[in-house]
Symmetry: C2
Subunit: 162 residues, 2 copies
DNA sequence: CCTGAGTGCTTGCGATTCGCAACTGGTTGA
DNA sequence: TCAACCAGTTGCGAATCGCAAGCACTCAGG
């Protein structure tokens, strides 16, 4: 995190921050799962992340400017992690990864629903980013009619589950 | 590589294959740099990948079905790595990462040109995929007029350098 | 046939990171 | 007061990383 980048290539720059087996998983849970707290990210994580790994990843994500941490959050207090604009902008990367994984890797239908829905609707991706800006950055939304993006994703998930 | 996936989530499935500090870099050099041989990938790599790491990554990429290796390639012979359709389909992931890195990380102008050009032109991305299918899979292209996608990228690079 | 350059790796080694489990030090609510 | 909850930290064995050599093989030239 502190040291020089390996090169000035844009892809390398992104990989140096996001290119490990856990960072994108944590970010996914914040973006799609609405997780904002340490315990929530740890216990409700599908892949079973360990507490020390989670702590290290959150620290790095804050250092890299993808998340911010509540200043009031000390030991024992319920701290809150918040997405920055840079963090929200990783959504297209998630969608691209999900689209690829859906097509070229084994997935379980229930968990892959999100990826399928988002892959088919660029508009929904934009709506979700607007919703994240509202929740995490306090940016008010305009032209907001009908169910929210996360609500649409939830409905698609439930439809696939039932 | 052999073991069970951590979960059935599409994003996790993609991360388990692509989520480490080197895999996407190797793939980038094959896709954008036209590298097809071990030595070429090692010595002409911007970030200085080590030979054992490169060997391990190539092995994993072949196992995962993103690359194939020339059967004729034994020790001492010049072996050739070829992209599969699954490998070619990682291009949108590269573009998304490049677009993000360009915007939210420090990059050097020269090396970031590719990312900038591709971020601004979805059509060029599609053309590059068609070109990769022609080179690696032998799929003939139709409606192909003017300079190729890689040629356009090269011209953009030289324009930025000079 | 020999030699030297080029090929794709493998091996050894110290340092870092991973994954698991237990533990710490604080807050909150009854 | 006290159990439950919260955000981590610490220890430890195993795996991986990054670096430097070395190995096995082929091929072209003399």
């Amino acid at each position: 995190m502190r040291e020089e980048p390996r090169s000035g290539c844009a892809i390398n720059a992104a990989v140096e921050v996001l290119g490990d087996p856990w960072t994108l998983i944590v970010l996914r849970d914040v973006i799609f799962g609405g997780r904002r707290h340490f315990r929530e990210l740890m216990t409700r994580n599908e892949e079973g992340i360990a507490s020390n790994v989670l702590a290290a990843r959150l620290r790095r994500l804050v250092e890299a400017g993808l998340l911010t941490r509540d200043d009031a959050a000390r030991r024992g207090q319920r701290g809150t992690y918040t997405l920055t604009e840079a963090g929200i902008k990783t959504l297209p990367v998630m969608v691209a990864l999900g689209t690829w994984g859906l097509r070229h890797r084994p997935t379980t239908p229930r968990l892959a629903v999100r990826a399928r829905v988002l892959a088919d609707s660029p508009h929904l991706v934009a709506e979700l980013m607007a919703e994240l800006r509202e929740i995490h950055l306090g940016v008010p939304r305009e032209n907001h009619t009908g169910p929210s993006a996360s609500e649409q994703l939830r409905q698609a998930y439930e439809a696939a589950s039932g």
